[in-house]
Symmetry: C2
């Protein structure tokens, strides 16, 4: 019997932000593998399926197991957000390539944290942007540091993934100091914790004042540092979010 | 009567890749505004609604009209991909801010072209990446040029949006020459035209050989230039796509 492997991006977490294509891939699967956190909202969809839940640090094992099962079964391996951005797509394809098996693979895209978080802040990205992770588990800190130093010279919004964790409390302060080399203190900064989930929390501040909210930032938080054109979106005295203009204001009168 | 405004990202085009949240926002709307291209796949959802279709270059007018209607009606203004990445979110919020009206606004995220295209190429992004548009309609070409020159020094994958159009055939050649300053000729390049739509076309080549497919690149194409770690994904002699490793191979044996 021929199996198949779907590498599925679930989006930010709630079923409301998952695509029908992702749902179909899970419906088709006999085996569903993933990190326990991301499997939890899927429980309504997993009845009758073999569910293999694992934790962080076991990605290579999870990839190997998914491929082994997919020789003869329909398998879905799931990631939060998009599987091709800090998800399982790379490691699964690397292990598959090494294995050499001829298994049909489908990668189902999902909404990655950058866009989920941005939607809660107004329009902080708008156009060109970059995604940089502060996790040095797999990427050396010197590489991350050099990337940050260079990316903040572009003047475009930068989304920081994995900004802080118990093992790495200092990388965020490093990123902030590098941003401050190139961007003004008034540059807007937005943080979104658990974007589009039930306990979502959003804050807007500036690069000059970010220390006031550093304690609110953890591994479930996306940090968006505005670009040279970004500004705070206000309605009266209320801070609503961040707008990075597209450039229409240089050509049109509103 | 109180209105509302939903700024909706539709994803790559087919309803299968649109979120339930996006569908609900459209279902709620009495008026749906958007570019004719992106409204077309929505036709099954638009029965009984007032649909206002416009073309490129009319974004400020469309934003203004959406806001006017949203004072007293439920309105959805739609963008292909994600509304916060080269979509309508920024201009709508800018016009709304200028207008001062107190209209409830919801931004519904969608899958942007970078992630839709990447899913068709395997895992070309994997981690850190940047999105840069080659359209100089609203951004001066000198700014784009400086950004490209800097972004290719990061060694991370870069997704080029709006790589070519009738009015701007040369910006892509410029981007390629800047990439070549910093990246090896073997650097994989993937192009995806109409990602996840019925007439999708995908190709994989290298930075050194990209001229062989330049004529296949148009305004509906996303161009993904790999980073320093990216390589071509093969199964036997078949080129399947592009893998940018996460870094597990430095720590684990597969």
């Amino acid at each position: 019997m021929k199996g198949s492997l779907a590498i599925v991006g679930l989006g930010p977490g709630l079923l409301d932000y998952m695509t029908p294509c992702a749902m179909k891939a899970i419906a088709k699967a006999e085996y569903v593998l993933g990190h326990s956190t991301y499997l939890k909202p899927l429980i309504p969809l997993l009845e009758g399926k073999q569910v293999i839940s694992s934790t962080m640090g076991k990605e290579v094992d999870r990839a190997r197991q998914a491929i082994d099962l997919a020789r003869t079964h329909h398998v879905a391996i799931v990631s939060g957000g998009d599987a091709g951005v800090y998800g399982m797509a790379s490691i699964v394809l690397e292990v598959l390539e090494h294995d050499g098996a001829d298994i049909p693979v489908e990668i189902v895209p999902g909404i990655t944290a950058a866009n989920a978080a941005a939607s809660r802040l107004g329009s902080p990205l708008s156009g060109d942007f970059a995604v940089i992770s502060l996790s040095d588990l797999l990427t050396p800190l010197e590489v991350i540091e050099a990337r940050l130093d260079a990316v903040f010279t572009l003047g475009i919004p930068v989304v920081l993934y994995n900004p802080k964790s118990r093992g790495r409390p200092h990388n965020l302060a490093l990123a902030v100091s590098l941003a401050r080399k190139h961007l003004k203190p008034e540059t807007p900064v937005g943080i979104v914790r658990n974007a589009l989930r039930e306990d979502e929390a959003t804050r807007v501040t500036t690069l000059g004042e970010i220390e006031t909210i550093m304690d609110k930032i953890d591994m479930h938080t996306a940090v968006i540092i505005g670009g040279a054109e970004s500004r705070i979106w206000r309605r009266g005295d209320d801070v609503k979010g961040i707008i990075t203009p597209r450039g229409y204001h240089k050509k049109y009168v509103y």
